[in-house]
Symmetry: C2
Subunit: 223 residues, 2 copies
């Protein structure tokens, strides 16, 4: 029996194109009837494994200049505010831990926190690495910031974020935003804000298809 379509959204707070993706995904997933799983993770360890010590947008300035212009066009089309941050990339570790804690606790406001962090970083040029900034964002959502800043430092939350980053690597992620369906060994990976719609369509198509054996499925897969 076909189940509800599901899609996992992998995001990193330093990632520029994750900003419009985070703004768009909830509405698009609801419209498509796809259940979302929000997974904060860290790109730093994945970049380090690939031998990168800085954002590719800094390492290749020509590509970086294009990215900021492209992002500006995208944000204009979405009516999303954008201000190039005075510092890039900002360290999203604490924000990712808070998001991890909020999602694991099943809070309804966790997606709002994610969007608030992106807005702070990419529209308000605020230093999201600073606990005071994150506390202000939590306060703005009516949440007890002291409690959540403390929750984010619990060993099990740190371990959970590490595990998410390891799972991201195991699924073949190398950038953000990314979207995946399926178990780790059968990951279907989509990378980039512009792949959000194809990822949702894929999730729907796979959930609605009749159950087939893995062998039959791979024979009909594209590629």
């Amino acid at each position: 029996m076909p189940g509800q379509p599901e899609l996992t959204f992998w995001f990193e707070f330093a990632s520029t194109y994750s900003y419009p993706a985070a703004a768009r995904i909830e509405g698009l997933a609801a419209a498509a009837g796809v259940r979302l799983h929000w997974r904060p993770f860290l790109l730093g360890p994945l970049f380090a494994q690939a031998g990168l010590t800085d954002s590719p947008f800094n390492a290749y300035p020509v590509k970086g200049a294009y990215m900021w212009r492209d992002l500006a066009r995208i944000c204009t089309a979405l009516d999303l505010p954008l201000q190039r941050p005075g510092s890039f990339p900002r360290n999203g570790l604490h924000a990712a831990r808070i998001a991890t804690a909020a999602f694991e606790a099943g809070t309804a406001w966790a997606p709002d926190f994610v969007r608030a962090v992106y807005r702070a970083n990419f529209a308000e040029d605020r230093e999201i690495a600073e606990p005071a900034v994150l506390a202000a964002l939590l306060d703005g959502l009516g949440q007890p910031s002291d409690r959540w800043l403390a929750a984010a430092e619990r060993p099990e939350i740190k371990a959970s974020l590490r595990a998410a980053t390891e799972e991201a690597a195991a699924r073949g992620l190398f950038g953000a935003p990314s979207f995946t369906t399926g178990a780790v060994a059968e990951t279907e990976l989509f990378w980039g804000n512009d792949r959000l719609e194809p990822a949702l369509a894929w999730a729907r198509a796979r959930a609605l298809e009749p159950t087939v054996s893995p062998a039959a499925r791979s024979a009909t897969d594209p590629g």
Copy 2:
């Protein structure tokens, strides 16, 4: 008075995502009423300037694995044949020179030649660096291959391809396919097969807008 919208399509024969872009662009541009300029160029010199000695898809195998899967999904959706080439990236120098000669001569079959080279490289696993392969493609289009292989080696054609690559760099290109509008100093750049539709929309919007001063234009630009 507003003129006809125009868009320049920059392509490199080793570029995987240029394959679906080359297959799609003529129909989409015609439907949008946009006049196309086909510009073969070489990515190698641009990569070398950025310190890259191989395709990023080879240098970062995790990213390369994703690209081939993503390309397979895209080609399946377009009903374009795809076979991962036994050698990647292939040297597109001679093919780019032939394309340069064919476009500069104003031939009607030049776009067909471009698509045939991409199909040979990415659907038929043929060695497009070899003059014999390129001759067979020209023969298949009913063109005198001896004449065009010779034309491609003329000093002015070599110089023209070098100039195209230099213009690509001056316009801020760093990958293919790319799409540009405007004079070099006012380049609006779009990168990637997935930016073809936004680039066409941009070209239309700019051609149809009332004439404004450069100052007024930049004030209303996104970003």
